[in-house]
Symmetry: C2
Subunit: 518 residues, 2 copies
């Protein structure tokens, strides 16, 4: 029947297999009230206090008439503990919470705010500096986390401070249903307008439990957390996983390269999640004899390369892990610390079915690379829809698979391997060439530091494969060396027509090669 | 990997696992050109002739500029062979064909026609009598199958006869892709506006092959066909199945109770599909000694009762079969003539996954009744979307299952049992009562001819179970007899509060009890 065994944590905590994420918070407050849920700048918030603060925010929201048509509350906040009370407080009223990306500015920020349909916004003085000049069509109430900036009173808005909001008593709580929508997250999306992804409560509860259980996290764990709450990683990986594990979330406003290990050791952090660029920053510092003297046990790195990940693990004495997912469905794979095969991004989450499809939608076999698609095996663990864009939802859900924009492959034990973004695929003379598969071979050349392959249009309407390679400093690598090197190691149709050797390649802030600059 | 073995017929015919339904028609014309595809009123159309007629229609359509924005061609036709050439001819141009329900009239007919976006309509003089007074916003070209009615010329339309259309030479054919949309069918839908269901080519090819293979149909079979082409049964069960089997379709304009067996024996029909009412009509005729002297082998009856079906099979010397499906996905189960368990509607089609869900979306186990949901295992074998109603599509596809409006159960061998329509479920004091499960027990009372249970509102805002029973003529059945009879045989919460005994129950034309009249 393909019914996966449910995670045990949820049943132990709330006595049933499905729960809203607020039920988990209350259960933690009841069972482990004195334990620290959040650490921030030397201040500790117990589970009990966190529950109380969230209930007070809920009481405040209940006292206002702010539901409106979309029943959505928005926030535009830097990384800080108060974001959590605003998130949980909103959810406790049965409303949806939309965290807006703190980096956004101008028209895009206005558009996203207006698309939420929210009437109430949680923000702070620095956020107001960005919001105040925008045409916001729905917001009529603003709650400032810190202080009310001058001039706001004259705008005809209802204005409060969080301190005022917290004066409210906690109301009688009726928890949302596990299938109710909890969050609206704007997915950056690789093309076009950002999509507004609606995510149900049970996704956070069940996903948090799967992550906690698969990695054996418990109340002794302290999670180093700089992940913004407006990304799925902040809401699910860090916050919900911590809650389900009964662990502690150590919040820092942003990643600091120079102070990272001092922070880790100060709070005793055992776990952190990051992107590959964080690994590269830390690796680029000079080695020290005490590099491995830190409290970290696990570092979860999204889509890094095997060699990088291994070097980091070795130098800093940690276990590096990977998992695969996206705002629309997360976590799709689970880290498997004891048995993780090299280069794998984990074993398929038993709550999902993952398949690899060819261009026509046919399922490929083990080891074959194609588009990664997924389906849930249990209800309410993935996006309900793209808000306001049913057409995009239907397109993504063709044949009742969620079609990701990624290429990957599965092995016969159910481990997933991320290969490349689908859009990078080069179609030449009827063949599909996956750049990552060529690049992997090129990188084994001793004089190649890094490389990337792209398709460039030819005069006859087809494309050629153009490979950019960065040479190892001091070597005399030439394009023909690379062409000779790969010939016989890859299919003939994969040998690049053009090879450009450079001293270095451009990188994006997230640490990926910047194809647009090439 | 859950990749079902593909049906062999498609590979044998076209040398690949997927094909458009037009490729199948061409392959049949090449391989079995002289064999009869369609029999109608004493006239036989060979596969080769059918292909030629379809190509000529395609050539005609190509010669006009009628694609428009929706690339859809409509037809409003009685049951007749020409409907097939219009259907195949449209598909051969890469366009979508929308067959309109011949029974519709007035505003509803106008609304459906306009929703197709079609500019060209195939119809006949009797159809024009219905269409001519309607506000049709898109149609500018009309092709008459029979003759051009007087007065049409004055309307500023481009008007042709099919005879004129067939003067066109067959163009060079480029077949549509298997994933291209072939048909738009309006699903009657139990509530609200009819939905416009978009169905891909591969659904007809693959579904037709599954039906032909599961029942062992071949070129010796002759299908008695009165199913309208505007229903999925006409397009898929009868036409596509016949094509994939290489069999013969014997077309009759409508079901005739008095002439049915004469028709069957005259053409040598071995197979027919029908609804339960057809069984009842035929069974209500006086028995004759030669009842079983007919050429029929299989009768496929949708959603009949086991006892009815068995009595029919016995009397007329046929094997009765059932399958389950709907416009959006068909066939979801396959008849299994050798091993069909009593009351089952077949074994799950290996191309689909079927599950039974509870109210919260959790999967139920074998033998448990709940909502029937399905997913495809291979691409392009179910609806692409509801045209113009992405919201309804997203709602039906929640959690990436297609949510039917039916209750059913599965056994451990993968056979499906249809139980009831979901909307008939009675919710009383927190319990879900499925009327069909109560009715099945009541019907075992020797004095009960038939019965139906409904929920009726009570003063305190709950509902009571009200059972209507028809007594066997000559018996003195009372309501209390039924209450006593079921007590102990069903759960206490299923015992009806109100029982009304009548001499007979009202039925709909389709042979189901008419709840609206009760």
């Amino acid at each position: 029947m393909h019914r996966p065994d449910p995670p045990q944590t949820i049943a132990r905590l709330v006595g049933k297999p499905r729960a809203s994420i607020t039920e988990v918070l209350e259960a933690r407050a009841l069972a482990n009230g004195e334990r620290t849920f959040v650490l921030e700048a030397g201040r500790a918030f117990s589970y009990s206090e966190s529950w109380d603060l969230s209930c007070r925010v809920a009481g405040f929201l209940r006292s206002l008439d702010i539901q409106g048509q979309t029943n959505c509350v928005a926030s535009f906040l830097s990384k800080r503990s108060e974001g959590l009370w605003c998130w949980f407080g909103t959810l406790l009223t049965g409303a949806v919470h939309a965290c807006l990306n703190w980096e956004h500015r101008g028209d895009l920020l206005a558009d996203m705010t207006n698309r939420t349909g929210a009437r109430l916004m949680f923000t702070e003085a620095a956020g107001w500096a960005q919001l105040s000049g925008l045409k916001l069509t729905g917001i009529d109430t603003v709650v400032f986390i810190d202080s009310i900036p001058p001039g706001v009173a004259a705008l005809g808005l209802k204005v409060y401070t969080l301190e005022q909001a917290l004066q409210n008593d906690a109301p009688d709580i009726t928890h949302p249903e596990p299938g109710d929508v909890a969050s609206l997250i704007f997915s950056s999306g690789s093309t076009g307008r950002a999509k507004a992804v609606l995510l149900p409560h049970n996704m956070f509860t069940r996903g948090g439990a799967r992550l906690a259980e698969s990695q054996g996290l418990d109340e002794s764990d302290i999670i180093h957390d700089t992940s913004p709450l407006y990304h799925i990683a902040g809401q699910l990986h860090n916050t919900s996983m911590t809650l389900l594990a009964g662990a502690t979330l150590a919040i820092f406003p942003r990643f600091s390269r120079s102070r990272f290990f001092a922070q880790v050791n100060e709070v005793g952090a055992t776990y952190m999640g990051c992107f590959a660029n964080v690994l590269r920053y830390l690796m680029s510092d000079p080695e020290r004899s005490d590099d491995a003297y830190n409290t970290l046990r696990y570092v979860m790195v999204a889509q890094t390369r095997e060699a990088e990940s291994e070097a980091f693990a070795q130098r800093f004495g940690v276990t590096t892990l990977d998992s695969y997912g996206m705002t629309e469905g997360e976590p799709l794979t689970l880290p498997d610390p004891q048995n993780m095969p090299p280069a794998s991004c984990g074993i398929v989450n038993p709550d999902f079915e993952i398949a690899i499809l060819d261009d026509a939608g046919n399922r490929l076999g083990c080891g074959e690379s194609g588009r990664i698609v997924f389906r849930p095996r249990v209800p309410d663990i993935m996006m309900r829809a793209y808000a306001g864009d049913d057409q995009a939802t239907v397109k993504a859900w063709r044949d009742l698979w969620f079609h990701t924009q990624d290429i990957g492959k599965l092995d016969q034990d159910g481990y997933l391997y991320y290969v490349d973004r689908l859009k990078f695929t080069i179609r030449r003379k009827g063949e599909n060439i996956i750049p990552a598969e060529l690049e992997q071979v090129v990188r084994t050349h001793p004089a190649v530091e890094d490389c990337v392959a792209v398709g460039v249009p030819t005069d006859d309407g087809d494309v050629d494969i153009k490979l950019f390679a960065a040479r190892v400093p001091g070597t005399d690598l030439q394009g023909d060396d690379i062409r000779r090197f790969v010939t016989g190691k890859v299919a003939r149709f994969m040998v690049p027509q053009i090879v450009v050797v450079l001293d270095e390649l451009p990188y994006t802030p997230a640490g990926k090669i910047d194809r647009d600059k090439l």
